[in-house]
Symmetry: C2
Subunit: 357 residues, 2 copies
DNA sequence: TTGTAGGCGTTATCAT
DNA sequence: ATGATAACGCCTACAA
């Protein structure tokens, strides 16, 4: 019998006429049989329950360990109705902002025993819907969404799923209770204010047409800085890309006609494209024109010239969002709107205004 | 009775003295009761089984849809023993190479009805071990690993888990059967060869001490290019960082003593740091010194000067890895080692050697 | 301290 | 074409 119980998990060749490999994972009952106890006892021992004899527990744990037994989280999830799983949706992981947030989320989730399902939406509403449905079927305990462009779409789904949701830099913050947001207004106001102090008066704003709320807030901060210095905000000095370098180049080109001496970009990716376009036109940064970004992505400090930008503590924001979600999942209340401070980092892409004006 | 069956899923306030909200998700039995059929019939209808009357099926689907019913993938996974789930481990998502691969994997997985668990290892073997254990408990159908520095560590786990594993740019390819790798040797040989053609003879190599196999192959390609031009490879012209800008700066500094006129970097992140250091020393790229990278990350084309580099089709590699895993999971055989071509992209960071030599 | 008996929400295997 | 019934692997009463 002992012979029979051993199975052939160790990779022994299957018996003749038995083409079926993968002898099936061990279950709690297998461990129970080997340890000569009932399976509930094994369950208790593995959860370090005080209701089981210390020696027995030790023996069971040893056996389970030697056998390489891993309790099935799916079976457990079925009975406990909690999967210790969350769904994380991003527009695309390939975006450096998103991947930093994902990193912070993942670390925090793991530290608390949660696994995370990652899904790209590609900013496609239909895909985003499917992704959230998949999460619903997976019975995730909570959902985290980064930079969604279709936030409102979640409302009906949320109602059905009955799981908490937290958004990071959502574009429709009004619709949701829980979110982690950067101080868009203050951050961009600081960047524009910095340029004003350097003597610039023809300052442009290169935004993100898909940034909605974030873009609106940053633009408002930009306006506030100019207005408090009594500088009129001219519409020829405002343009929009899509948050990526390619579109930023086109938008920058259009902006050039208004001859700005400085430009505030919606984010670092936009600054990357804008700067590239400026060079193509023979303009030197910052001598001829100053440029600021937003995010402080890893490459900002290594650009030529190093980029003056507004730092977002992206990883930390991911962590904060996950911590908020953890609270909600355990039934506690959580601060609805978490607002994170942005920090202006002055580098070499901005300089005192010179000639050319 | 019908009254009673309705439950209060629609968000009706809970009855007095019933503090317990979240009325519990609908199950297949609820749908069955409403449709006045048995639950297996519902199951069949929802799977579009031909074994069920077309009209009945239609009615069931309509009811399920209106009720917002979502079948539990966890219950299904328990009985079918397949979760349609894979585990994806990366050293860190914050690395742009990794996030591109993740993107390709995720898209492909989703298109085939798989959800992906993402986990960072932070290049910490202990954490990586825990992560894989979590995957085992989650009963993932397969595992994908990117740029692992601890590949060998998987062997024993793999034996126990009995799930297929595919590695992307693994550092210990010998140990595993299935992997997707870039043509490291040929790629770097092309980059170095390009510099040789431009007349350079004092060419340095700035590698990644944690790149193991990848670094070894790229270095070999570098050597091959020089040797085929009868240029001796001097050890003072070889240094190693860790694949990131910071360490690259330090390594570059040390390399400067040997006065190279060109430098091949292990990857674009390394090139970022190396270039930054060169500027700090007043050297102009490419006038005084040429620089090449590897990867062709999104920012490479936007640097000043635009970076000459070796392109890896990262997303495509993620897709190939996932497709290989899909084959393995469905029991088919798959090409063990998939080798992807690298492409030299010549931009402006390299130029014909001038004076200063 | 331990064992017995459900049940979690599906799919699979039989009947009918 | 449909319905009973039995798993799947675990946890949680409750009983002993």
């Amino acid at each position: 019998m002992a012979e029979k119980d051993r199975g052939n998990a160790a990779g022994v060749a299957p018996a003749q006429g038995a083409p079926r490999r993968s002898p099936r994972q061990l279950s709690i009952k297998d461990i129970a049989r080997i340890a000569r106890v009932s399976h509930p006892t094994v369950s208790r021992a593995l959860q370090n329950s005080p209701l089981v004899n210390a020696k027995t527990a030790e023996k069971i744990r040893r056996i389970a360990d030697e056998a390489g037994y891993r309790a099935s989280a799916v079976a457990r999830g079925l009975v406990t109705r909690r999967t210790r799983t969350i769904g994380l949706v991003v527009t695309t992981v390939a975006d450096p902002f998103a991947s930093e947030v994902v990193c912070g989320v993942e670390q925090t989730a793991n530290d608390h025993g949660y696994s995370v399902f990652l899904a790209d939406s590609n900013a496609d509403p239909e895909r985003e819907r499917k992704v959230v449905q998949a999460f619903a079927e997976r019975r995730v305990d909570g959902i985290l969404v980064t930079s969604s462009r279709v936030g409102a779409l979640y409302l009906p789904m949320l109602a059905q799923m009955q799981v908490p949701i937290v958004l990071v830099n959502d574009q429709y913050p009004g619709a949701f209770v829980h979110s982690v947001m950067i101080a868009n207004f203050e951050g961009m106001r600081a960047a524009a204010g910095h340029l004003v102090e350097l003597g610039h008066r023809r300052i442009a704003y290169l935004g993100d047409q898909f940034g909605y709320q974030s873009d609106a807030e940053r633009l408002a901060g930009f306006r506030a800085a100019l207005e408090s210095a009594s500088i009129p905000v001219r519409s020829q000095l405002i343009a929009h890309g899509d948050g990526k370098p390619e579109a930023a180049m086109a938008a920058m080109k259009a902006l050039l006609a208004a001859r700005p001496t400085a430009i505030c970009c919606y984010n670092d990716m936009t600054a990357l494209g804008a700067t590239h376009q400026l060079r193509a036109h023979g303009l030197r940064v910052p001598k001829d024109i100053s440029v600021t970004g937003f995010d402080d992505l890893f490459f900002a400090a290594y650009l030529e010239p190093p980029l003056t930008t507004v730092r977002q503590p992206m990883r930390r924001m991911g962590q904060l969002a996950m911590e908020s979600l953890l609270r909600l999942m355990s039934g506690e209340e959580s601060v609805p709107q978490i607002r994170v401070d942005a920090e202006l980092v002055v580098r070499a892409s901005t300089a005192r205004m010179s000639g050319r004006g």
